[in-house]
């Protein structure tokens, strides 16, 4: 990452304009050119400094559902089980963690019922129990990271 990449990440984790030429409008704020902004974003996406660039949806507001899920999987089977889980489009992210519950993933589905369907399918395909931990209450989401 160069200094301009850092400035872009710090300035553009939200508030990207909804206008005819949004990259140009955002670039003006950064004192750079439209092409330059697009090129830096393209490079950061390619090198995975950014996981994506665009709208961040709160799918519960559009009829969908999220749930955090955890599994206890023997270390020797972890990669195989993770592969089966990750193959589902409903799995938005999946982390290995240093705990007896060693697989933690988020299911994001177009309807609340589909959460249970996806969890049941993972249990069937992996032979391990899925512990769903849906939220009861959300207190805060959305820290911006400084680069």
């Amino acid at each position: 990452m160069d200094d301009l990449d850092r400035a872009i990440v710090n300035a553009l984790q939200g508030g990207f304009p909804v206008t005819e030429r949004p990259y140009r409008d955002a670039a003006v704020q950064l004192g750079i050119g439209e092409d330059e902004l697009i090129e830096h974003l393209r490079r950061m996406l390619a090198s995975q400094v950014l996981t994506r660039f665009g709208p961040l949806w709160q799918i519960e507001r559009i009829g969908g559902a999220y749930a955090l899920a955890a599994m206890k999987v023997p270390a020797a089977q972890l990669d195989e089980v993770a592969g089966k889980i990750n193959a589902l489009a409903e799995v938005a992210h999946n982390y290995e963690r240093d705990h007896e519950f060693n697989l933690w993933f988020v299911l994001a589905t177009a309807s609340p019922d589909a959460i249970n369907t996806a969890a049941a399918r993972i249990e069937r395909e992996t032979g391990h129990r899925v512990y769903l931990m849906p939220k009861v209450e959300e207190y805060f989401v959305g820290l911006e990271f400084s680069a």
Binding site: G15, V18, T51, A70, N86, V91, H99, V141, G142
Partner: protein, 169 residues
């Protein structure tokens, strides 16, 4: 904190806009026009709906989603706390307001195997930094702390963000 909002009922074009942008916005000078063209509607329509979904909270924000590992945040810990349910709201709001907590939720427990009901995600350059943050939270939780744990992520196995299937499929 998210204030309660009016219900929002997306129509099929809203959902097609979600499907068309969930992988990201096109990196072209007129990205909303490109989306509109794919959907066969006017760019003004796409922009009006995006603005409405932002106002309704269906879009949290539009912008860059960094990979925090790539930014040097190599120590990423999920701190989990077993607190009395009746204290979760007050504590969750105070913990969520800390400047280093990226997400804070109350979640369902699994009695006997998973006692923790309050989750706070912590990010630091080092594990020492994250552990200092856990101590800071422990001071807030005080005598409501019936047990806590810190689970570091050791590997990202997948991080694509949401990918809703098109409901027309």
């Amino acid at each position: 904190m998210n204030a309660p909002r009016e219900p929002f009922f997306p129509d099929s074009l809203d959902l097609r806009i979600v499907a068309a942008t969930q992988a990201g916005l096109p990196l072209t000078p007129r990205p909303y026009h490109a989306v509109a063209e794919c959907l066969g509607v006017a760019a003004e329509e796409v922009m009006a709906r995006l603005r409405r979904m932002l106002a309704a909270g269906a879009i949290r924000r539009i912008g860059a989603v960094p990979n925090h590992y790539a930014l040097g945040y190599r120590a990423n810990g999920m701190s989990v706390w077993d607190v009395p349910d009746e204290r979760a709201g007050e504590l969750g709001r105070r913990i969520g307001a800390l400047p280093f907590v990226s997400h804070c939720y109350q979640r369902v427990r699994h009695p006997g195997v998973w006692p923790y009901n309050l989750f706070a995600m912590l990010h630091g350059k080092t594990r020492d930094e994250v552990e200092a943050k856990v101590r800071e939270i422990a001071a807030i939780v005080g005598d409501a702390d019936r047990g806590h744990a810190l689970l570091y992520s050791t590997r990202i196995l997948k991080k694509t963000g949401l990918r809703l299937k098109d409901r027309d499929e």
